[in-house]
């Protein structure tokens, strides 16, 4: 009898290990998935990637120096396992893992990281306007020093606390492979990464097929093959999903959520993305230099109605134009309060005219709002809905469509009077989120130029102490909220429709990184 507990424990242990083994094999190790979006890479050189969706394929082929957790977007060590910065904020030391290998089995060293980093500054490679070009603009790079195979010292010309976040976007590339190519342009057709998948087939504008790299340094992935298919038409993408031709679809209108949800074997995942929609003011126009008026326009937006009608209640109001994890959680979004809007406007001496619009000194409160979204976009419906809400409250906002190039040119040259409507996208790095309001920034179309705002922005930009930086950034956000230099609207709604068997946590940045994903048997 005394042996009973021992036997019982052994049987239990055996049962549990068998159960775990069964559970562990619950996924299909030979699974292939097809993901479709409107864009696949236009070349195999990630430096040329200008589209977010296209960039997703590279996230599976390459490793980045750091990585952002797809759930929280917080920075995590990756190829760089440790880092430190000296007191001046100008000298960074990075310790690199010694077990990272390329898909050809070559070890990755500090030399490769320096090569990869300096590549984003190579004007012959990175096209203007591309993501890599954007990253390079974030750091005033001075030089690099290789201490040993796994230690890299990076010198900057100015303190850059956000540097690790920039490195979370830089792909690790094999220096010897890329330097052995006959020309820099050859990298657009040859590829070598350290990521969990390698390219097995690439047909321009059609598909890119990735195969599992079994010797991946973090262990092999659970999906064998991933195909990224380019299908421009959203209806076709959804038809493919409905018929089982593809397993994952991105980018469709929120108005289709209910319909797709009813399909067999399909599930919908939605997240607040990294792009923030807002209405910008022309701050050179005295009409919009009044804080109370700007606040009134924020209070006059009935977001709940828009959210319910256009976004199936999936897109909350933007509380501040900073993405998590950097946003100050104590800030509550402007609530719809027509009475408050009215009192703020009337408090500034505006009265309703015969057309029922507020007017002061013969000038109506409002004007045209340039936008460039296509007519079918839900975001076009959004601005028209706001225009109607404003109209009922005596504020004139007349949406005027501009062809995108015309739109950008007019905004850049200040050939507009009152409002512009757009979105601003960034990489969840805090600083980049709010940079569009910084004086001198080319995308500060409204010419917002506030001394206190800039002082806080510069302080945050150079503060190396994390706790202090957070404090300054929260103060900047509070100030930004109070000043309301824009009408805060919403974050982009990132939508995915997936085969029910595909288990995957998409990242809110919209990039389709399938690390950790698996397909149930």
């Amino acid at each position: 009898m005394k042996r009973f507990p021992v036997v019982f424990c052994l049987v239990l242990a055996l049962f549990m290990s068998v159960s775990f083994a069964v559970c562990a094999q619950d996924y299909d190790p030979d699974a292939s998935i097809v993901f479709t979006t409107d864009d696949i890479p236009s070349t195999l050189d990630p430096m040329w990637s200008s589209a977010l969706n296209a960039d997703g394929a590279f996230r599976n082929i390459f490793d980045t120096m750091f990585i952002q957790d797809p759930a929280t977007m917080l920075l995590q060590p990756h190829v760089i396992k440790e880092y430190s910065c000296d007191e001046s904020g100008l000298v960074w030391t990075f310790i690199i893992r010694d077990d990272v290998v390329t898909q050809a089995g070559e070890k990755i060293t500090a030399e490769d990281l320096v090569y990869s980093f300096e590549r984003i500054y190579d004007v012959e490679i990175a096209i203007p306007g591309s993501f890599m070009s954007f990253l390079s603009s974030q750091i005033e790079y001075d030089k690099s020093e290789i201490i040993d195979d796994y230690t890299w010292k990076l010198y900057t010309k100015s303190p850059t606390p956000g540097l690790p976040y920039v490195l979370a976007g830089v792909y690790v590339m094999d220096k010897s492979f890329y330097e052995a190519l006959p020309s820099k342009e050859a990298a657009r057709e040859k590829i070598m990464g350290t990521g969990p998948y390698y390219v097995s087939e690439y047909v321009l504008d059609d598909h890119i097929t990735l195969e599992r790299f079994d010797d991946y340094w973090m262990g092999p992935q659970k999906i064998k093959t991933i195909t990224f298919r380019e299908i421009k038409d959203v209806d076709t993408r959804l038809f493919e999903l409905e018929t089982g031709g593809v397993d994952a679809v991105k980018d469709f209108s929120p108005s289709r959520i209910e319909e797709i949800d009813a399909w067999d074997n399909v599930k919908i995942i939605h997240k607040s993305g990294g792009c923030r929609y807002f209405i910008g003011f022309n701050h050179e126009n005295p009409k919009w230099q009044n804080k109370n008026i700007r606040q009134a326009l924020n209070f006059a937006v009935d977001w709940n109605s828009i959210n319910e009608a256009l976004f199936a209640n999936g897109s909350p109001r933007l509380e501040i134009d900073v993405n998590p994890p950097w946003n100050d959680p104590s800030i509550i979004a402007y609530q719809y309060d027509p009475e408050k809007a009215k009192s703020l406007i009337e408090g500034e001496g505006y009265t309703l005219n015969a057309d029922n619009y507020y007017e002061k000194d013969g000038e109506v409160l409002g004007g045209s709002a340039y936008f460039s979204y296509p007519q079918t976009s839900v975001y076009t419906e959004m601005i028209f809905a706001i225009a109607d809400q404003y109209r009922k409250q005596g504020i004139l906002l007349e949406p005027v469509y501009q062809e995108s190039n015309n739109y950008t040119t007019k905004l850049a040259n200040m050939e507009w009077d009152d409002f512009f409507y757009k979105r601003d996208c960034s990489t969840f790095d805090g600083l980049g989120d709010i940079a569009h309001l910084a004086a001198g920034n080319t995308s500060n179309y409204g010419r917002w130029n506030d001394a206190k705002w800039m002082e806080l922005y510069k302080a945050f930009r150079t503060e190396m102490d994390a706790a202090k930086a957070k404090e300054i950034f929260y103060e900047l956000q509070q100030y930004n909220y109070e000043e309301a230099p824009i009408v805060f609207l919403t974050r982009s709604l990132e939508l995915w429709a997936l085969n029910e068997k595909l288990v995957w946590e998409p990242s809110p940045d919209g990039r389709c990184n399938f690390r950790g994903a698996y397909v149930l048997k």
Partner: protein
């Protein structure tokens, strides 16, 4: 010979006009620099200016045009910004897919339109005439995007007979080709019917019948041969349109041809490639029409006499 030379000169003028228009349109909506780099996020004004200089957009427009034209004459249609490849290389990769779908659609349309047109003409005002005219009317009235999506819904989603999209197998060719063939099918059916009716009323047809030829021989050897001459012009125009105008169908069916290439280049604001696509398709269209004019002279002696 005069006629051919005249037509050749006209064709050159048309191509020249297209180059001016396609080059000029990039300046119609603001600064082409911003068209390419978008919102220039993270770029300084100096970088924007440097890029404008690299692209040559800071030179006078006529100089830019002459520079582009001289290169185009040598077969250099510039380099794509989005694909980072010579435009001629990209076009040569994509053009076969469009030719494939265009030929299949055209052949399909003729295989149906010719018998349908003959039946309609030879059985004028009959039930079959009315049916064929209804088919022709439907084919001409329905927008391609709607037909494409409906055909996917019916044949791929409901019946599961054919794949939704893509290129690679014969089954994938069927839906886009059928969709694309609908309009030329309808138009050619109507054209064949009306020209055949006209020819059937001519004196030489009466003579052929008086000679004792069988009705089938009169129809095929005498009437149809003459009735098809104007149809040849339409076929050429159709073929040119199919090569250049398959954008909607190619986009719906994710067919990687010239149509999707042009759409991609427009969305990517890749102005050099947009220009190259427009000029290339215009040259093809003009060349086809020139060849048809030449064939027309061979087939119809009256053209030579005029």
């Amino acid at each position: 010979m005069d006629y051919i030379i005249r037509r050749l000169l006209q064709s050159i003028i048309v191509v020249f006009g297209v180059t001016i228009v396609s080059f000029g349109f990039q300046f119609l909506s603001g600064d082409p620099t911003y068209a390419i780099i978008g919102e220039a996020q993270g770029m300084t004004q100096e970088q924007v200016d440097a890029f404008r200089h690299t692209m040559g957009f800071d030179r006078p427009v006529p100089i830019q045009y002459l520079d582009w034209l001289s290169k185009a004459f040598k077969g250099d249609l510039g380099k794509s910004i989005y694909y980072s490849k010579p435009n001629t290389e990209i076009i040569s990769q994509r053009f076969p897919a469009t030719v494939e779908i265009a030929i299949f659609a055209l052949v399909l349309s003729l295989l149906i339109a010719i018998p349908l047109g003959i039946v309609a003409a030879t059985h004028r005002n009959s039930f079959w005439d009315r049916i064929s005219m209804v088919i022709a009317l439907i084919g001409q009235s329905l927008p391609t995007f709607w037909v494409g999506l409906m055909s996917i819904l019916v044949f791929s989603v409901w019946l599961k007979w054919l794949p939704v999209s893509g290129r690679g197998t014969f089954r994938q060719l069927i839906l886009p080709s059928v969709t694309l063939s609908l309009y030329p099918l309808a138009r050619n059916t109507r054209m064949i019917r009306s020209t055949l009716l006209e020819v059937l009323g001519e004196d030489f047809i009466r003579t052929a019948r008086a000679k004792g030829l069988k009705p089938g021989a009169v129809l095929l050897r005498h009437a149809l041969r003459n009735a098809l001459i104007p149809v040849i012009t339409l076929i050429a125009i159709d073929f040119g349109s199919l090569l250049g105008g398959a954008m909607v169908v190619e986009t719906i069916f994710a067919w990687p041809g010239m149509g999707t290439l042009t759409v991609n280049s427009i969305f990517a604001k890749d102005l050099p490639l947009v220009q190259a696509c427009v000029v290339f398709l215009a040259v093809i269209f003009v060349a086809i029409n020139f060849i048809v004019d030449f064939v027309y002279v061979v087939l119809d002696p009256r053209v030579r006499l005029r």
